[in-house]
């Protein structure tokens, strides 16, 4: 603005000597420049928004693009002879005998019979690498579930090993020099033979959703992490919701305005801004070292995350309580209700949609949180799907972190797929919060 003023005063000085003409000319000339500045400034603002939107687009396209192949896996159809001599030669039907049987031999016998020309130990070992090393466990579980399979021949779709699966999907190009890729020329030849035989098929990757973690990408899944997240979230919800609502009710409805309540308020605001990893350190020092609670357990993870989401729930709860008009309270008091009855019977039900919205948003934050859980040992390599609050477990974001560190290429698409699943859960939770807000929001 001072520029404008300067221009005007200049013009006034000039006015004395050369008259009105130059003054308007000068302002008109300045106007053009000023409008150009205006346009540029607007463009900068648009560029800022455009950059942010482009970042969102890039992020999602990268994740989705990497994730899509992860939802497919390649299976190979083999005629498997569940030979009685190998599995259970004495016909004892004893689960321990069946569990200990040499299913690897069954897989190999069937697979090698497709390639009668391949002889020699080295070639055969290379050939065997085409099929997943977990195939024998799949067959074992089939027979354990249904012992009547013994003695029959079935067509079973077994997973390809991750490297070949990547090659088949086009992840590893055949043009790269043989020494630079994990698939040899011979394996490619055999794979072509299998393709010509129409033995390969691309199916939806159920393993990803039914299995726990594994070192072999083709056997790894996020079922364990999903269950871990589920148990952790239950603990978080069970702690942060009641405590958060109670604190909000106290601070908003009961608390006198004094030093103590001011201290609590300042504390809550600060806790909301404390880095999440510090909560992990607190959990490690207090819950694990002082109270000797189990490491890697959803119980402890849930407690740490509850402390972290508490400020979110309290702040949202207070806002919701504040939005209930005082006339409701006064009406209840007028009917002889006590303060507590007024709140429980009238104020809280009206504030509930807001409280729930805040809680859901807090839970979504907790579901995506990783750093504090690393501190309390939820980064363990857990193969089994956890079945309780004190079992060793990991959660979805930690699983993403672990897989993103894995050297195998095939883990990239699985990491992206797991990320997409996590984002899916978050979108659902946020959508629920929006619906709650839209549906039950009341304007007084």
């Amino acid at each position: 603005m001072s520029e404008t003023l300067a221009a005007t005063s200049d013009a006034t000085v000039l006015n004395g000597t050369s008259g009105m003409h130059t003054r308007t000319e000068k302002i008109a000339a300045g106007l053009k420049r000023r409008h150009a500045v205006e346009k540029r400034f607007r463009a900068y603002g648009l560029m800022g928004i455009g950059f942010a939107v482009a970042c969102v687009a890039l992020l999602f396209s990268t994740i989705i693009g990497n994730a899509l192949p992860g939802f497919k896996e390649t299976r190979i159809n083999l005629e498997i002879e569940f030979s009685k001599e190998i599995i259970d030669p004495e016909g004892s039907n004893d689960p321990n005998v069946i569990r200990g049987a040499d299913f690897r031999k069954i897989v190999r016998d069937s697979f090698f019979s497709l390639f009668p020309n391949v002889k020699g130990r080295r070639d055969r070992r290379e050939l065997a690498k085409i099929i997943s090393s977990g195939s024998s466990f799949i067959l074992r579980d089939m027979v354990m579930d249904d012992p009547s399979l013994i003695g029959t021949t079935q067509i079973v779709a077994l997973p390809l090993s991750a490297d070949l699966d990547q090659f088949y999907k086009g992840g590893i190009s055949g043009e790269v020099a043989e020494s630079d890729r994990r698939v040899s020329d011979k394996q490619i030849g055999w794979l072509r033979h299998l393709i010509a035989d129409k033995r390969l098929e691309s199916v939806f990757n159920m393993t990803l959703f039914s299995a726990g973690d594994s070192r072999e990408p083709e056997l790894a899944g996020i079922a364990g992490a999903i269950m871990g997240s589920f148990y952790t979230m239950i603990v978080t919800l069970a702690l942060s919701f009641p405590i958060g609502v109670a604190s909000a009710v106290y601070l908003e409805e009961f608390a006198p305005k004094n030093r103590w309540t001011q201290l609590i308020e300042v504390n809550i605001n600060n806790l909301a801004a404390v880095p999440s990893i510090v909560f992990g350190l607190l959990g490690l020092a207090v819950f694990l070292n002082f109270f000797d609670l189990p490491r890697s357990a959803p119980l402890v993870g849930g407690m740490v995350l509850a402390l972290m989401t508490l400020p979110t729930v309290i702040i949202a709860g207070r806002a919701a309580l504040k939005a209930v008009p005082p006339s409701i309270r006064e009406a209840a008091f007028g009917m002889g209700a006590s303060r507590w009855q007024t709140i429980v019977h009238h104020v809280l039900p009206l504030a509930m949609p807001g409280v729930l919205t805040g809680t859901i948003i807090g839970m979504a934050q907790a579901l995506g949180e990783t750093a504090p859980l690393l501190m309390i040992g939820m980064v363990a390599f857990v193969v089994d799907i956890p079945g309780g609050f004190t079992d060793s477990a990991t959660v979805m974001p930690v699983q993403i972190y672990l897989w993103s560190d894995a050297p195998e290429r095939a883990f990239i698409e699985r990491t992206a797929a797991a990320t997409l699943v996590l984002l899916g859960f978050l979108v659902m939770m946020n959508a629920l919060a929006v619906v709650l807000r839209k549906k039950f929001e009341r304007k007084w």
Binding site: R42, Y250, F254, I264, E369, A371, P397
Partner: protein, 406 residues
């Protein structure tokens, strides 16, 4: 008998107590509720509280003390004592019931205490954080002097298994970590501050309702994405991208360069800057805008010469809050920044940060008296203090600003 069975028994007794208390209260006045001091349910709650609270408290205390002293959970004798306590509480409260007993006042007093306790958990958490950080840091400073920690230039926390091994002592000079943290936060702020501010200005001053309705949620999406996803994105896309560009112009870029981590962190904090600044800019009184426009200033002149100076304290506050966010951010740097503590001013090299070192020192099994693990708590203490200071300054600046226009 396991603890869960005991808890079930206690819960059952409590429910029984509620119904017994209520029916006794009703019976004492022959069913005429108006003769009671409180509603009959309150007598039930009073009995239930007498039955459940003391016995449950004893159970919890007993379990904790048992676990600490190595005796484990309470045995059969302990269970018997706890159940007897519950029954005694039930019987005592049941006998107390008279029509003029002030059951509601008593119950509401207990409820109030519960509410106060719940709201005190926020304070307990803060106290717990401070105490645990200070306590463990003191143990660390017994082994390593605070001067070396705060001003030492070399960070190599590997402590050897044998005392006579070469380089067994480990060096705990944290300056390279502070430098790395500052560099990555600075890069992040260089991305987030202009983008966030410009979009906030555009949204609050120029954008029509339609653009606002679409752009705002998109920015909020950035705030809702978990940090581990940003870390994955940084490691998968950004780091190779910068490396590729570097190779094309014959320039060495580390695969875990500070610039990739900083850039992605900047993207992450754009929504913090933009939403906070948006609030602050919207809070500038309309009269200032109208005055400036009335004097003939263009809209951008009004924004740059009137609104931004008026909103400056609030904007500074929001930038400080965003910086504190960047300093404390963990997953992006763990996944995309380096582990080696380099002292460098080159953003294309790998640097490490305070949070990365906390994670690497504490992940995995470790005994709890080595300087290596305790160092993580000292780093945590520094991190907590720095972010706390930034937050307090930011909050007070924003509050003072808000009062100015109210």
């Amino acid at each position: 008998m396991s603890s869960s069975v005991l808890l079930l028994v206690l819960a059952g007794l409590t429910v029984v107590g509620f119904y017994l208390g209520r029916s006794r209260a009703l019976a004492s006045v022959g069913g005429k509720v108006r003769d009671l001091h409180s509603l009959p349910g309150y007598y039930g709650y009073a009995v239930a509280l007498w039955c459940g609270v003391p016995s449950f408290a004893v159970f919890v205390l007993w379990s904790i003390i048992g676990a600490k002293t190595g005796h484990g959970a309470p045995g059969y004798a302990g269970f018997a004592v706890i159940i007897a306590l519950a029954v005694a509480g039930l019987a005592y409260a049941h006998r107390q019931i008279r029509p003029d007993m002030k059951a509601r006042d008593g119950v509401e007093r207990v409820v109030r205490i519960v509410l106060i306790t719940c709201s005190a958990i926020a304070i307990l958490t803060t106290v717990g954080i401070i105490l645990s950080l200070i306590f463990e840091s003191f143990r660390f400073f017994e082994k390593v002097s605070p001067i070396e920690f705060l001003f030492g230039l070399e960070w190599s926390p590997q402590t050897a298994l044998r005392a006579d091994q070469v380089g067994s002592s480990g060096r705990f000079g944290a300056v390279p970590l502070f430098a790395g943290t500052m560099m990555i936060s600075l890069i992040a702020m260089m991305v987030a501050a202009p983008v966030g501010l410009l979009s906030a200005i555009y949204m609050s001053e120029y954008a029509g309702p339609k653009l606002r309705a679409t752009a705002k949620p998109i920015l909020e999406v950035l705030a809702g994405i978990p940090t581990v996803v940003y870390g994955f994105f940084a490691a998968l896309t950004m780091a190779p991208l910068f490396r590729g560009w570097g190779e094309q112009i014959g320039f060495e870029v580390a695969s875990e360069s500070a610039i990739a981590a900083g850039l992605v962190m900047g993207i992450m904090i754009i929504p913090f800057v933009s939403s906070l600044s948006d609030d602050v800019i919207s809070a500038v009184p309309q009269s200032l805008r109208e005055g400036s426009l009335g004097l003939g200033a263009t809209q951008s002149e009004t924004i740059r010469r009137v609104i931004l100076p008026a909103a400056l304290p609030g904007i500074v506050g929001s930038l400080l809050l965003a910086t504190s966010r960047a300093i404390g951010e963990t997953m992006i740097v763990v996944m995309a920044a380096g582990l080696a503590a380099n002292m460098t001013a080159n953003p294309f090299e790998a640097v490490t940060t305070v949070t990365v070192q906390i994670v690497t020192l504490l992940v995995g099994d470790q005994e709890f008296d080595s300087a290596k693990t305790l160092a993580a708590f000292a780093l945590g203490l520094v991190l907590f203090c720095v972010t706390l200071c930034l937050n307090i300054i930011a909050f007070s600046v924003v509050n003072k600003y808000r009062e100015q226009y109210e």
